[in-house]
Symmetry: C2
Subunit: 259 residues, 2 copies
DNA sequence: CGCTACCTTGAGCGCCCTCAACTAAAGTGG
DNA sequence: CCACTTTAGTTGAGGGCGCTCAAGGTAGCG
């Protein structure tokens, strides 16, 4: 296992444990090459031809990050895309005066880091301990010429992400505080279900401040909405980072504006 | 010219002038095949090999729509992607109670209609008289296997759109009313410049209500912000649909939160 | 036990929404 | 060509949702 990581290092000089000097990233010791990591059908390379997978495994490398580590910053040269193997990552943009907008959360199986003209448009930061599969973008482009299935897979991922953005823009532009929180919880629950994690009790690895900066509210408003849902019996909060959704339909009704 | 449209009709039975029975779409008479329309370097197929272009021209068809025509609705089967040749298109999602969020405006050279699992995630409606180049998605996927440059181009377009979304989510989640309007005007001006249209006086083909539903405000608030910018000498409003930006730097400062 | 970080709860205010009136411009029919 | 109607945009007055500011609670950790 460790040997395959070393192989990756030999073929991709960028994979030397430093990611632009940001964060104490260290090569992982427990992950194998593409197709052998434990992502199963969630893996980017799942279902690819053996030759494609071996090509990917030669340029891929697996990294670990600790909470608050920065994977890359807005403006950094965009050298690689990332696939989350374990843990949670948040991605955000900052305004000069410190206002922050978290544009996405990424979990097991999710990919991020696609960027234009070689510069990341946002900062990526680990929320929990994180394992990621890193794919150098340039190599990916070269491989795509011989294995068009790779680019098709990328198109699929990006299309899904675009659909998510449409929904989130609707949330931010037109929904009330309670509708936003309800939508957020249901979306997270749905994504957990799709990736095979228990959808209830739902795990909230991010703090209230992160949630607030994602759905365009303040910490206090998020907290009040959660407490209100709890009082109404729509959900339980065994701990601040765990939500048991009791009445999904009622929550859905609120999320869709019938509350 | 008309003959090439007829050719397209022969090869693509979907291109019969009806787009799901929605809107009085009629085949255009003035547009040629890919590479011969007047989009120049803005065209999706610009720079492709001659063989690729001829393949595209065989599945492509050009359509015209009038203001308020619906190109497709949210939930419709997603059969094709569109490239705007002339005019302006808005794309939006509706909530059950009528709240509307416009998730994007599309002008000359812009593409839209990429969708997952065969269903459009939003409704597309013509703002002005519109000419579009319509490319059936399935054929596009088939062609991509022999001409990977097509999918690479799609990836580029989608990457750019994703970056736009990140910016817009920041706008909706964290910016004040004036910051939103300033950002909106500058973004529109920048896009006009990139596509070769005069960036000033900037043309606003969409109404105040459309702007409001795009940046998460009300008509009144948009109007007040514009009047305020005018009073401060940042811009002129020769007509409601034309904006002459007098002080781009000052407007930029406001857009970025330094106002 | 004290410290820190995070979450929750409360009180008051402000930005933007709501409601309404007014103006301007464009279409309509005689 | 001109009254009438309709639609879009602007301006004003008042109210409410969510923000701000502040205090209190709770869990993790030395």
């Amino acid at each position: 296992m460790t040997r395959s990581t070393v192989t990756a290092l030999r073929h991709d000089p960028v994979c030397d444990g430093t990611t632009g000097g940001v964060g104490p990233a260290t090569p992982a010791e427990s992950q194998g090459p593409c197709g052998q990591c434990d992502l199963g059908t969630l893996a980017f390379c799942d279902g690819f031809a053996a030759r494609t997978i071996s090509s990917l495994s030669r340029v891929q490398c697996t990294l670990r990050f600790e909470p608050h580590d920065t994977l890359f910053r807005e403006g950094d040269q965009g050298l690689a895309v990332y696939s989350v193997v374990s843990g949670a990552v948040k991605v955000y943009k900052l305004m000069p005066d410190g206002r922050r907008q978290i544009t996405g959360f990424f979990f097991r199986g999710d990919m991020f880091g696609f960027c234009l003209d070689g510069t990341y448009a946002y900062t990526a930061e680990a929320i929990t301990p994180v394992g990621v599969c890193r794919l150098p973008m340039q190599r990916l482009g070269e491989l795509a010429e011989t294995a068009p299935e790779i680019q098709y897979r990328i198109v699929l991922r990006m299309t899904a992400k675009l659909a998510q953005f449409h929904d989130h823009v609707l949330l931010l532009g037109r929904k009330t505080a309670r509708e936003r929180v309800a939508t957020f919880l249901l979306t997270l629950s749905d994504r957990a279900r799709r990736r095979g994690d228990p959808p209830s009790p739902l795990s909230l690895p991010m703090g209230r401040a992160d949630i607030a900066d994602h759905i365009g509210l303040t910490v206090e408003t998020v907290s009040r909405a959660m407490t209100w849902f709890k009082r109404e019996g729509l959900l339980d909060l065994p701990s601040p980072s765990q939500v048991a959704i009791r009445q999904p339909e009622a929550l859905r009704a609120i999320a869709d504006g019938a509350g």
